[in-house]
Assembly symmetry: C2
């Protein structure tokens, strides 16, 4: 089976998924995106991702290409055509195609591209193994809260991490405080067992998984501090982890080569991971029940 992509109104073979060279996404990084995890056929936190997409579009004043219901229809159809049960759905909206000029064109149709692929998600083995991170100066643009395709700084950070044998780079603002990872949010467990993560602001992306973890932590009675924290604090922490839609909750066992805590996934991270996976399973089961019901009905 060949992969199918959705490009501006058409379902096409992946290798024929083309956009114009004057799509402003290509020439100006003038676009936004979302990556949604598919688990047992269900779009995990799909509504929250579409809420964030709306926010990103609003911030850049890009017109939404279609209604939410229509978007969801395309998303489901693309999963069906690609037979994705566990994987990732990628969705990108750009301002559209126009003769090259920095400022917004007066008349323009937004461009919409979606791809879907089967992909291994989290696993107990991956959790146990954990990851290493390095710290790097945060040289991204000033609006990391917008999920734009302007990702060259993130690319360079991820590459530097990979070359250092690490999975992720935790980015430091001018005060030496961690903003977030190049493609994930950053967390630590403090002295009193409290969870610490950077507060919402223009320096970080309001992660969908971050928000879910905050809810789960509240349910579990884990105290949370949303504030800036330094690399020193990470080094002294009993536990640290990162979160993202595709990584869920992933223990961070080393930073810049130094071991965090006892170098193994800690108990708070464990509880949050279990709670998160439980949450995802409950979503996919609800979805399966509903889908079965629909088919039966």
């Amino acid at each position: 089976m060949s992969r199918i992509a959705y490009v501006n109104g058409r379902y096409v073979r992946h290798r024929n998924a083309m956009v114009h060279v004057e799509d402003r996404g290509y020439q100006f990084a003038d676009g936004v995106y979302e990556v949604v995890v598919v688990h047992r056929g269900a779009l995990i936190d799909g509504e929250a991702h579409l809420d964030r997409l709306d926010r990103s579009l609003r911030e850049l004043r890009i017109v939404r290409p279609m209604s939410r219901a229509a978007l969801q229809l395309v998303m489901r159809e693309l999963l069906r055509r690609n037979r994705v049960r566990d994987g990732l759905l990628y969705l990108q909206v750009t301002r559209g195609v126009a003769r090259r000029d920095h400022k917004f064109p007066l008349v323009i149709e937004p461009a919409l591209v979606m791809t879907a692929r089967c992909n291994g998600l989290w696993s107990e083995a991956r959790f146990q193994k954990g990851v290493s991170v390095i710290s790097l100066d945060d040289i991204r643009w000033g609006r990391a809260d917008i999920k734009s395709v302007s990702l060259i700084a993130n690319v360079l950070a991820k590459q530097a991490a990979a070359e250092a044998g690490a999975y992720e780079a935790w980015l430091l603002d001018r005060d030496g405080a961690v903003t977030e990872g190049a493609s994930s949010n950053a967390w630590l467990v403090g002295e009193q067992g409290q969870l610490v993560t950077r507060g919402i602001g223009s320096e970080i992306l309001g992660g969908v998984t971050r928000a879910t973890i905050l809810r789960l932590a509240a349910d579990m009675g884990v105290r949370v501090e949303e504030r800036a924290f330094t690399i020193d604090e990470v080094r002294m922490a009993s536990e640290a982890f990162l979160s993202s839609s595709s990584s869920a909750v992933l223990p961070v066992l080393k930073i810049d080569g130094g071991t965090i805590g006892d170098g193994r996934p800690g108990p708070v991270t464990r509880r949050l991971y279990d709670a998160y996976i439980g949450y995802v399973r409950s979503l996919s089961e609800t979805s399966e029940t509903r889908n079965t019901g629909e088919r039966a009905g």
Copy 2:
């Protein structure tokens, strides 16, 4: 005549100039570009633009898609096919197409796209009219010295300028000093008639036209200070102007609504403009002579 673009080895009709949705330029802004002015058929400062392209590619560790001689051949062929005598040549190189993952793919071919168009360049009327600029916080990424397609911050700045009835936005670093414009370099003429422009560093793009102006100023015996300057200094300046390949030397007559100097193009700006246009003309005449010689030979 329909416009022709060059896309990854082929000359195609402009409307068929397509790249893959997984071109990393589209998904990660993982690419660089140049805009070269064409005057009377000659590529103005073409070598300097290709030098800068090489530097941008090197900084991002993107492989050069072809030799300089081959690039120049394609550039000239594209101008010929589009019959561009006065206009712009746009050239973009991205890391290429790969399954989406932030870090550099192990094996990848760079993508090369070029477009050319006829375009009005500078004119005496445009010089006399001058432009207004506004000041805005510089929220671009930390490597403005790389001419990357990661331009969303520049787009927003140009749009804000347009909505304020201005042509350009001059960007301010955290110390309130001007870095450069969203698509041009920023200059003022100080109390002693000296030229002031920001020094080379990661905060500004080393403009090709900027470098030419510095040479011309030296030839004319105009003293130059390459240093940070504030908006207050611009307000107090006798003259200010911006420079870019497509705008040449363009008087800035207002900043944030306040008039600079007497609100008309000043004498130093005039001399630099004349010198720059003279320089460009000499280049295109040399090129015409050479081309005629080649044809005769």
